[in-house]
């Protein structure tokens, strides 16, 4: 009987020659590769990471003050990005700064995205009083200004001035927007028939949330997460400025910009390298987020500019 029915459904406009079965990861990678700005951005990000983590091993100066470094020198062969008035090599500072900033930003994003997504998905899936309690907590966290809480908590936590301390504190208070986004998406997704189909097959709540709801919310989650990276970089910078974040003699991109804010016109080499690097990181992350979102969505058209 299958002979006959193959005819009824088999030949079809969508078909053509069947592609060899490919692993899902490879399919996603192939789709990602078609998104050129994302691929370029990934290369830039890799270069930045290499610069930040491998650079200090090769460059003779680190981020600290050295008596051998002239004060307030313009960029030159010995110090390509110049020096500070205290006697730091700006290139050495930049390497260290990018390193610290990347570590903080990625840690914050991973922690906050996971927590926020699961929190929002659970609230949206179960609805009722579970939702009410969980989302009221989110509301409470949301109405307290992020910077004030982070500053207050950061100053009082042991290790609060190391990069992971800073990252943990920022993450603990920045997952709420993601949870709201995910909850909204899940509220509509849970009514779809494929969720009902999974329930009818006997799937557990955990399976439905992890296997069906969260993957289908991937688009908004990735968009929110890329925005969060930018937020994390800025919050870290602000904390450093207020004296609650990473502190001298250690250095971060934010701290460097804050230190150089009065020197933007007089000694531009202090201000522009860290400032432009922040912009570059945020931009690159956004492109990668775009590419990922499209690559993860099987409905996206395969042809892209």
């Amino acid at each position: 009987m299958s002979e006959r029915i193959t005819g009824a459904g088999g030949a079809d406009g969508t078909g053509g020659a069947a592609p060899a079965p490919r692993g899902q990861l490879r399919t996603i990678a192939a789709r990602f590769a078609r998104h050129r700005p994302a691929v370029a951005s990934l290369a830039v990000l890799a270069a930045l990471a290499l610069f930040a983590f491998a650079g200090p091993l090769l460059w003779q100066w680190d981020h600290t003050v050295s008596p051998d470094i002239p004060s307030s020198a313009e960029p030159s062969g010995a110090h390509p990005l110049g020096t500070t008035s205290a006697g730091n090599d700006v290139l050495g500072q930049l390497m260290r700064g990018v390193q610290q900033t990347l570590k903080v930003a990625f840690t914050v994003t991973v922690l906050a995205t996971v927590l926020g997504s699961v929190w929002g998905a659970v609230a949206g899936y179960f609805r009722g009083w579970v939702d009410a309690v969980m989302m009221r907590l989110v509301d409470v966290l949301l109405i307290v200004p992020l910077l004030v809480v982070v500053a207050a908590v950061g100053g009082n936590v042991r290790g609060g001035t190391t990069w992971y301390g800073v990252a943990l504190v920022i993450a603990a208070f920045s997952w709420t927007p993601i949870s709201r986004v995910v909850r909204g998406v899940v509220l509509s997704l849970r009514e779809q028939e494929f969720v009902e189909a999974a329930r009818a097959a006997g799937a557990s709540h955990a399976r439905i949330i992890l296997r069906h709801l969260l993957p289908n919310a991937a688009g908004p989650i990735i968009v929110a997460a890329t925005l969060l990276i930018a937020v994390a970089i800025l919050v870290e910078a602000a904390m450093s400025f207020l004296g609650f974040g990473i502190q001298a003699p250690d250095v971060s991109l934010g701290l460097m910009v804050q230190n150089a804010k009065t020197a933007a016109f007089t000694r531009p080499w202090l201000f522009y390298p860290p400032g432009l690097t922040i912009v570059l990181i945020a931009l690159v992350i956004n492109f990668i987020g775009d590419g990922l979102r499209d690559a993860l969505d099987p409905r996206q058209a395969m042809v892209r500019g």
Partner: protein, 702 residues
């Protein structure tokens, strides 16, 4: 003879109110030009009713939108369309406005979106009147009342002051018809006017269209996918496929002597109310071609069992094959006297169901597999705001009892909102009933602990209505089909990927489909994936929730045949939830008719259809159009008034009495009192045939 000459010859030289010549419409898209209409020519005589039939994507709606000048900006239109001698393609906005409404009017599918929600319907009708005539507001409103009365809306004086949301779907559609006839146009184009409506309401709306036509003398173009609707309401019919007209002629001619294999295939795919289970449907293989790059030759050739080399090389022109009958097929004459079964059912397969007789009726003594007793489900209606008090209940299911035996198909039938889908979900315990029991093989499902309930899910699975929403878009077909197995930890045990492949083959898909995602498939194929998933756990019962109602007729037939084959092969019991009585007639052993949360009639399908005893069943049966013009016109029709009452405030006594034709016309005052006061119990009239009506009386209506 060229196509145009043939058309002109067939129609005669009388003045046509609408003459379309060589109409081409294409849309530029990212993937290339979609050629939606390719060389359409047709004529409409004054007062004539022309049906345009086609499946989704055939270009039938696009053609009518082109005539109305309503296509989106990017569309490229060429050719000519003349309304009463005047060219309307490429008209300026202002001139076009004068033609629209005055000479040609349109009725759309969705009555909710074609009315403006912030104005009363009276004002909207008056607006249409005043757009073309210099009359005062008062006069226009008086005309609105008159028009509402003409389309059969009760108490039109009050209704003119209603807003669209205060009216039901059927009423709204009649308001749209009233607007269309406001200026006595020469042509009314109705694009799928009843597709969004229930069958009893469909009958009312078609009646209103007829009334509009009689009153204004307008010619009607009725665009639909439903062959039954066309059969009863038009004089001539035109069949469209892949943007072309492939057959045209007087309605009896086309239905009785189709000369294009596609038309024949459509007729063979359509389940009919007047045919029992013994006739097997003859589905058309494959799916319509993409309109991006239509293949050379006949667009139907890839699906046509008669196709020869010539068909793929040369596109057949529309040529005369009989009196006023045109067909676009090289071999039209070969269809002389052949049935769809002969042409479309491939050799080696019996045209009738295996063994001719319907599947053996289970012995009455057999213990039911699935039994429901007194199921009740109310959904709370809550107030808006913070407190969200419970301000009422939607009585979705009110005391439904059912029995499903092994290897049997029980159809649960009713209009939207009757509680049939809710009942299906209660049986599966996707919803928890407020009262009542569900037993599977004697075990009460409600009392089962979690783990046991999961075990039970292996025996009972569901197939959903919407093949687009019921498959997770982020999973491959293999993952979707394997999921139930993985959930129950059976994936390895049953053979992993090989078992998935076997399942796909069972539903007529190939192993090459496994790695693809659902969006790459057509509706019919997706439904097959859904069926494969439901079969993965080797269940004994399938709950089918409107499994074919989202599919085109030719695709639907293939899925119905598949379901029948699977039942034969695996001895499945089906609970088939549907609003489509023709499909039910074709597939069901027993039927339960639901109205407002209650079963009003149940019994063997043959008996219920042949001798319906409840007035509601009678109206349902008589409202289903037959795809047979002669029978359809002779049939006795029982029209119900009004719409289904709100399930949050069902009528007292018999729930159907507010719409019951018997209550309205035949019963005396004393008899009526009983209907109002006393709820009729579901009682056996003949063993196995139960009816909930105080005054049940059998009638043959097919």
């Amino acid at each position: 003879m060229t196509a145009e000459e043939a058309v002109a010859g067939a129609v005669g030289q009388g003045g046509a109110v609408l003459r379309i010549e060589d109409l081409h419409v294409s849309f530029p898209t990212e993937d290339g030009r979609v050629r939606a209409v390719r060389g359409l020519s047709l004529e409409l005589r004054p007062g004539e009713a022309l049906g345009i039939v086609g499946e989704s994507g055939s270009g039938k709606s696009v053609a009518s939108l082109a005539v109305m000048g309503l296509l989106p900006r990017g569309a490229q239109v060429s050719g000519s369309a003349r309304v009463a001698g005047r060219e309307v393609l490429h008209l300026g906005d202002e001139e076009l406005s004068r033609v629209r409404g005055e000479r040609i009017a349109m009725v759309f599918q969705d009555p909710l979106t074609s009315l403006n929600p912030v104005y009363t319907v009276g004002r909207q009708i008056a607006e249409a009147v005043r757009a073309h005539r210099a009359v005062g507001e008062r006069e226009a409103l008086a005309r609105a009342v008159e028009l509402l009365a003409a389309v059969g809306i009760p108490r039109p004086e009050e209704r003119v002051r209603s807003y669209p949301h205060e009216l039901s779907g059927g009423m709204r559609q009649r308001v749209v018809i009233a607007i269309a006839m406001a200026n006595e146009p020469d042509v009314i184009i109705a694009d799928e006017p009843t597709t969004a409506l229930d069958v009893t309401v469909q009958a009312q709306v078609l009646e209103a269209l007829e009334a509009a036509r009689r009153r204004t003398g307008a010619a009607l173009v009725l665009i639909t996918h439903d062959l039954g609707v066309v059969a009863g309401h038009v004089d001539r019919v035109a069949v469209m496929y892949a943007g072309r007209l492939v057959e045209q002629g007087p309605v009896e001619e086309v239905f009785e002597r189709p000369r294009m294999p596609y038309t024949l295939g459509l007729l063979g795919s359509q389940p009919r109310l007047d045919e029992g289970r013994s006739v097997r449907l003859a589905p058309i293989a494959g799916a319509p071609p993409t309109l991006l790059a239509p293949p050379p030759g006949c667009p139907f050739a890839p699906r046509c069992p008669m196709a020869e080399a010539r068909c793929t090389e040369e596109e057949p022109p529309l040529r005369a094959t009989g009196d006023g009958h045109l067909a676009a097929c090289h071999f039209a004459e070969r269809l002389e006297g052949r049935t769809p079964q002969e042409v479309f059912v491939r050799s080696g397969e019996p045209g009738a169901r295996h063994g001719a007789a319907p599947s053996p009726a289970p012995a009455p003594s057999a213990a039911p597999l699935l039994r429901a007793e007194g199921l009740v489900k109310h959904f709370p209606v809550r107030s808006k705001g913070v407190v969200r008090r419970r301000i009422g209940d939607v009585h979705a299911v009110c005391g439904v009892s059912l029995e499903l035996r092994e290897h049997e198909t029980l159809a649960l039938v009713g209009e939207s909102g009757c509680g049939k889908s809710t009942t299906a979900r209660l049986l599966l315990r996707l919803l928890v009933p407020d009262a009542g029991r569900v037993e599977f093989e004697g075990a009460d499902i409600a009392a089962l602990p979690r783990a046991e309930l999961r075990r039970l899910r292996q025996d009972m699975q569901i197939v959903f209505q919407d093949p687009f929403a019921s498959l997770d878009p982020r999973m491959t077909v293999a993952e979707i089909v394997a999921e139930p197995l993985r959930i129950h930890g059976l994936y390895r045990e049953r053979g992993g990927a090989a078992d998935v492949e076997r399942l796909l083959r069972t539903v007529g898909l190939g192993p090459e489909h496994a790695a693809r995602y659902p969006h790459e498939f057509s509706g019919g194929q997706r439904q097959r994936i859904g069926i494969a998933r439901a079969l993965a756990l080797r269940p004994r019962t399938l709950i089918l929730d409107e499994p074919v109602s989202a599919l085109d007729v030719s695709i639907q037939a293939g899925v119905i045949n598949l379901l029948e084959d699977l039942q034969e092969e695996f001895g499945l019991a089906y609970l088939f939830v549907s609003h489509d009585l023709s499909v039910v007639r074709h597939i069901a052993d027993r039927v339960a008719v639901m109205y407002l949360g209650k079963v009003v009639e149940t019994g063997a399908a043959d008996r219920v259809f042949a001798a319906a005893a409840h007035p509601y069943t009678q109206t349902l049966v008589s409202a289903i159009p037959l795809p047979d013009p002669r029978k359809e016109r002779r049939r006795q029709r029982i029209l119900v008034r009004g719409d289904v009452p709100s399930p949050s405030a069902p009528p007292s006594g018999c729930r159907f009495r507010t719409r019951c034709p018997k209550f309205a016309a035949e019963l005396s005052e004393r008899e009526r009192a009983r209907c109002v006061e006393e709820e009729p119990p579901l009682e056996a009239r003949v063993p196995g045939h139960l009816t909930a009506c105080h005054y049940a009386q059998e009638r043959a209506l097919v």
